[in-house]
């Protein structure tokens, strides 16, 4: 039971990250490595704000905005300075490593005694006694659901339609009289805002910040996106975001199974990489379908 709860919690947290990766990888067709920096950036901002004594709920919009800013920087480097997409992300990821250390104040910061979005008067009041076991999962579920619904709404707007168009065929965006660079910057901002929000919740669930949590974050995100969109190939626009979150939960389930089977905890990144490779190869022939998961 505890294992299932843990998988659900982690899966949904990384599901928010996966929603961000979905935007860059599937919609914008931009291999964005900023994620490895923006996920811990959200966590760093969160522990900083919480240790400053701010109400935990403030960390959610703050982390989103912080991540959005990081994404905008990647976008500006790519669009304005004409640096290749992959390199733009690597530059920001590297810069964020130091920024994360500055923001958090150290490579490891614990928030054991402070209120978090899971541990506060309101949440403990709603989940008294034994129900407290599921409160973390319940709160994460609410935030993930809200993130998914907001993203679905955004994708249905004119601005969201344009975001899909720029990844599909950026020539047409110019034809429509819109600066395609700006659209990419907006997309990267929203994507990294979501990734950072994932980091924010992760830090509060773990009750700590650790500088290394970003390592491989993008791979987990990609694996979740590819797994989700390959398994539920026929779903249309609003439901594809659900597939991505489910993909993330399943992915975390696979990792948990591997650990449960007795694989050394130090091998986690190796398992991550191998699992990602397997998912990538299995889904490969299916991805020839034009438009990917969005059709």
């Amino acid at each position: 039971m505890a294992l299932i709860l843990s998988v659900l919690e982690q899966g949904m947290i990384y599901g928010i990250l996966a929603l961000g990766v979905y935007i860059t990888y599937k919609i914008l067709d931009f291999p964005d490595l900023t994620v490895d920096g923006s996920f811990p950036f959200g966590a760093a901002l969160t522990v900083r704000l919480i240790t400053m004594g701010l109400p935990p709920v403030v960390t959610l919009p703050a982390a989103f905005l912080g991540g959005a800013l990081a994404g905008a920087c990647t976008g500006l480097i790519h669009v304005k300075l004409k640096v290749r997409d992959l390199l733009s992300g690597i530059i920001m990821m590297t810069a964020l490593y130091t920024i994360n250390l500055w923001v958090a104040g150290a490579g490891y910061v614990a928030i054991f005694n402070q209120d978090t979005i899971f541990e506060n008067g309101v949440v403990n009041g709603v989940f008294p006694g034994a129900a407290g076991r599921v409160k973390t999962a319940a709160v994460i579920f609410l935030i993930t659901l809200l993130s998914k619904l907001l993203l679905d709404w955004y994708m249905s707007t004119k601005s969201g339609l344009l975001l899909r168009a720029v990844g599909d065929n950026d020539t047409i965006v110019t034809s429509l009289g819109v600066d395609k660079g700006l659209v990419k910057i907006v997309g990267l901002s929203i994507a990294n805002g979501l990734v950072s929000l994932g980091g924010c919740i992760y830090a509060q669930q773990q009750r700590s910040f650790e500088i290394s949590i970003g390592t491989g974050a993008v791979v987990i995100g990609l694996a979740s996106v590819i797994m989700g969109t390959s398994l539920f190939r026929k779903v249309t626009a609003p439901r594809v975001t659900s597939s991505v979150v489910i993909g993330s939960v399943l992915y975390k389930g696979c990792v948990a199974l591997a650990m449960f089977a007795g694989i050394d905890a130090n091998a986690i990144k190796l398992i991550t990489a191998v699992l990602f490779l397997i998912i990538l190869v299995i889904s490969m022939d299916r991805r020839k379908n034009p438009g990917g998961g969005l059709t």
Binding site: T157, L161, R164, G177
Partner: protein
């Protein structure tokens, strides 16, 4: 910026290219001076066909007008305003363009309805308003019906699954959905089979006639160049070596153009 790009639509506008210079790869061994003091005036409502061999500068001409490539010197006047230094996307707010590659004029991963909704919003802000207005689907269907391609029954079908001809018809429709001053056709029938190309040319002629939009069409098909439009230009090495309009254009026949075309091609060793 906005004011100039959203001038009141008059349906037709004059386009003037004055003293255009364009050098490719300046300073290198591959330096190619394509345009040297190139001048062209396209009058209100004119439908110009441009022909010429590869490298004659006809596609570059379109790219220069649309801002896809920058010019070294000269002016591009749209109704008297110089747009030669304006960013490509700002310029294209008043230009409709259809490319040779059918996939460039539409979004393959999106449905016909989504594609048309996007195109319908051109010139207006792409904000947080509803992207697809279901109420307009009926109007879009009516626009698709005369194409006789059955697209009106495929509103929710992904454009990627349509044929090249269907996509090009849709691209043409999308390029002219909102009021544009100029329609730029960049060999838009070249990638299609002869019968489909014929259909698309018919559609082009109808749309240009209905909208009375100033049109520049680059084509490899000399017959189309002769048959359609009211002005014919032949480009060679960055110059318009033949320019016939009105009565003169009407008298031109394909053999004559072919003759001139072959002569200059032979001179170049092509």
């Amino acid at each position: 910026m906005r004011k100039s790009s959203f001038s009141m639509w008059k349906g037709m506008t004059m386009l003037e290219l004055k003293g255009i210079w364009k050098n490719y790869n300046p300073g290198s061994v591959n330096e190619l001076c394509l345009f040297q003091d190139f001048n062209l005036t396209v009058r209100d409502g004119e439908f110009v066909s441009v022909v010429g061999s590869n490298g004659s500068g006809k596609t570059s001409l379109l790219n220069i007008i649309c801002g896809s490539i920058e010019i070294d010197r000269g002016q591009i006047l749209a109704d008297g305003t110089d747009i030669g230094r304006q960013k490509d996307f700002l310029r294209q707010r008043r230009i409709g363009r259809v490319y040779q590659d059918p996939s460039k004029g539409t979004c393959s991963g999106m449905t016909i309805l989504e594609n048309m909704s996007l195109a319908d919003n051109k010139g207006k802000p792409y904000n947080l308003g509803r992207g697809v207005n279901k109420a307009k689907a009926g109007r879009y269907r009516e626009m698709l019906r005369p194409l006789n391609l059955g697209l009106e029954d495929k509103m929710n079908v992904s454009v990627g699954s349509l044929s090249g001809g269907q996509r090009q018809a849709l691209a043409l429709l999308m390029a002219t959905m909102t009021p544009v001053d100029f329609l730029i056709l960049d060999e838009h029938t070249a990638a299609l089979d002869p019968r489909t190309a014929e259909t698309i040319m018919g559609l082009t002629d109808r749309i240009v006639g209905e909208k009375r939009v100033t049109t520049i069409m680059v084509t490899h098909n000399l017959r189309y160049a002769v048959e359609y439009g009211n002005r014919l230009i032949m480009m060679h090495e960055g110059k318009a070596i033949l320019d016939k309009s009105g009565e003169e254009k009407a008298r031109v026949n394909a053999e004559e153009i072919m003759g001139i075309f072959n002569r200059i091609s032979v001179e170049c060793g092509n």
